[in-house]
């Protein structure tokens, strides 16, 4: 706790049988920060969060949340955390308001059910059974339940997984609200958009390791100011000449598009046009975009996030 971080994770390891899920994960989250763990499925995000929530014991390394060890701290620890878990449910015949009343009753200090229903847009569903809720409503209830004890630290494990884009945006708005309340939030996601929009800092996790850590802006800058140029041409290129164009560090074919990663965009464009003329080929479309976290992930791992 010397660093004053709210969440401190040091050299965390965890294995399930032969599978090494975590191979020395370290990071720290400051008070009031929204911190994202970004990575593909199976990267070790959920294992990390579940160790922090006290649901699993680590094999090696240490974790503290507000200076407390989740494994040994008992009720004192449970009072300060809120969690929306992955792979969880409530009994089918439990009503929305009942769930909030019940979970609230477990804490000496808790938020009122009417307030939570209103804030999470569940007022009309207050008497509905859990089984009657849509995916988005279940997720909003999960978030309301995570906040029932007005926790200092909130863990959101894939809060928007499996939701359609519109519902996902609703959840984003809720998280942005929480951010204003200065809650410390650790969220896991495999949606780039989510990490870029919501997180103050992001740790990119792959194969049980943190492979990059920083603010979304820092991560993008760190990628060597590589810019992505997406090109579509009338005739496909087969001879790999695109990767030899001036300024191009990498070239990938993706469906009908070619992704050129360039450090010197103007020169690459000029070279590209010349090349097309020589080949008697035509440009159908061209798009220049600053690198996204997706590109950074690709650059770091050689894979797409949703592969």
């Amino acid at each position: 706790m010397l660093s004053g971080a709210t969440i401190e994770v040091t050299n965390l390891t965890k294995r399930y049988g032969d599978v090494e899920a975590l191979r020395g994960v370290s990071f720290s989250v400051n008070e009031g920060e929204v911190f994202g763990l970004l990575g593909p499925n199976g990267a070790g995000k959920t294992s990390t969060v579940e160790i922090l929530e006290g649901l699993r014991a680590q094999d090696g390394g240490s974790v503290t949340v507000c200076g407390l060890d989740p494994q040994t701290s008992g009720a004192e620890f449970k009072y300060i955390i809120g969690a929306a878990l992955q792979a969880t449910a409530l009994p089918d015949k439990m009503r929305v308001a009942e769930a909030l009343d019940l979970f609230g009753s477990f804490y000496p200090k808790h938020r009122g059910t009417p307030e939570l229903l209103k804030r999470f847009g569940l007022e009309e569903k207050r008497s509905a059974f859990y089984s009657q809720l849509s995916g988005g409503q279940k997720q909003r209830l999960a978030l309301a339940m995570a906040l029932v004890n007005d926790p200092r630290v909130v863990f959101l494990d894939e809060p928007t997984a499996g939701l359609d884009p519109q519902v996902r945006r609703e959840i984003y708005d809720i998280i942005v609200e929480l951010k204003k309340e200065k809650k410390t939030i650790l969220l896991t996601t495999h949606y780039i958009e989510e990490a870029e929009k919501l997180c103050d800092r992001v740790a990119i996790v792959d194969h049980g390791k943190v492979i990059a850590l920083g603010t979304p802006r820092e991560l993008k800058q760190r990628s060597g100011t590589v810019t992505r140029i997406t090109v579509r041409m009338a005739k496909p290129e087969t001879n790999g000449a695109l990767s030899t164009l001036e300024g191009v560090t990498e070239c990938r074919a993706e469906a009908d598009d070619y992704l050129l990663y360039s450090t010197r965009v103007p020169r690459t464009i000029v070279a590209l046009v010349k090349h097309l003329e020589e080949q008697n080929n035509e440009l159908v479309s061209l798009d220049i975009s600053a690198p996204s976290l997706e590109d950074i992930f690709l650059e770091l791992t050689g894979r797409r996030l949703r592969d």
Partner: protein
């Protein structure tokens, strides 16, 4: 401590509400036991109203024994659906969850037992109420004990399929060799020798002694003590073996621990095998329904 009680109470209340909304629960906890009552009541019409206290004791025992089935299934369902793990990130402990199972089950079973008692009097003209204090005590302790056995089943099984298979086996043993359907003295001697090690046998016999002979608490002391011992061990073991996560498997030693719950009845069974107290009482109580047979013989 007071937080544990508040949590247990909150969980008990919600579980009673959930049970009342569950059709399967109503079927198994109300309809099935009442079907038993009507079946046995019809028998009493053949034997005469004098047989009803003996038969009602069997119906009460069957109703009470049913507790273990519902509780094990519920707990395993909660675990498999990931409901338990949500509670794990709250200050609720395993003991509060398990205790709420036992308490809600007790309050949900009691009305059925009262209805059975009432119908025996009103429809089947049962004379007398037996020793009510003994009946009430046995009903209370019995319900908690058999529910605890359900918690044990849930703690040693990994899947619903496994739970159901074990439940079927236990249920058939309880049903047919405890005296709850076939009167104890009518069981083959070999089966009787085994039956004296079963908690169910003592529940049936205890209730029959309370209903037919008006046995008091002192006379039923050994039975009650064994039921309490079994309940306490079962609860402690279930709390120790409690698993929140669907993917956590029961360790091998779990089955050994679970076996500890039957220790009180092993001791009682050994004692019973030596002095034959239960067998004597069971034969005596059985006389209460045998009388009509002799009347029938006179008729012929």
């Amino acid at each position: 401590m007071s937080r544990i009680l508040t949590n247990t109470w909150a969980l008990t209340m919600i579980r009673m509400r959930l049970a009342m909304r569950n059709r399967a629960f109503l079927f198994f906890s109300l309809i099935t036991p009442l079907a038993f009552l009507f079946g046995y009541g019809a028998l009493s019409r053949r034997f005469g109203p004098g047989a009803m206290p003996y038969l009602l004791a069997m119906v009460l025992a069957l109703t009470i024994m049913g507790s273990f089935w519902g509780l094990s299934v519920q707990l395993v369902t909660f675990r498999e659906q990931g409901i338990l793990r949500r509670f794990r990130v709250t200050p609720v402990g395993a003991s509060a969850l398990l205790a709420s199972s036992l308490i809600s089950n007790y309050f949900l079973t009691l009305p059925t037992l009262v209805i059975e008692f009432y119908l025996s009097r009103s429809l089947f003209h049962m004379a007398g109420l037996g020793n009510l204090l003994s009946v009430f005590t046995l009903v209370t302790i019995g319900t908690v004990t058999f529910a605890s056995l359900g918690l044990i089943v849930a703690s040693v099984t990994n899947t619903m399929q496994e739970t159901q298979i074990i439940n079927q086996i236990i249920w058939f043993v309880f049903l047919f060799i405890s005296g709850a359907t076939i009167p104890f003295p009518k069981l083959p001697v070999m089966v009787q020798r085994f039956a004296v090690f079963l908690p169910a046998t003592y529940l049936v016999s205890g209730l029959q002694r309370a209903m037919v002979d008006h046995a008091n608490l002192t006379e039923l002391g050994a039975y009650l003590a064994s039921l309490i011992g079994c309940a306490v061990i079962a609860f402690v073991v279930a709390a120790q073996l409690f698993r929140w996560e669907p993917e956590t498997k029961a360790p091998r030693r779990a089955k050994l621990w679970a076996a500890a719950a039957v220790i009180p009845f092993l001791l009682l069974g050994v004692w019973e095998s030596w002095n034959g107290d239960l067998r004597t009482h069971a034969s005596k109580d059985y006389q209460s329904i045998q009388e009509p047979f002799s009347l029938e013989r006179i008729d012929h």
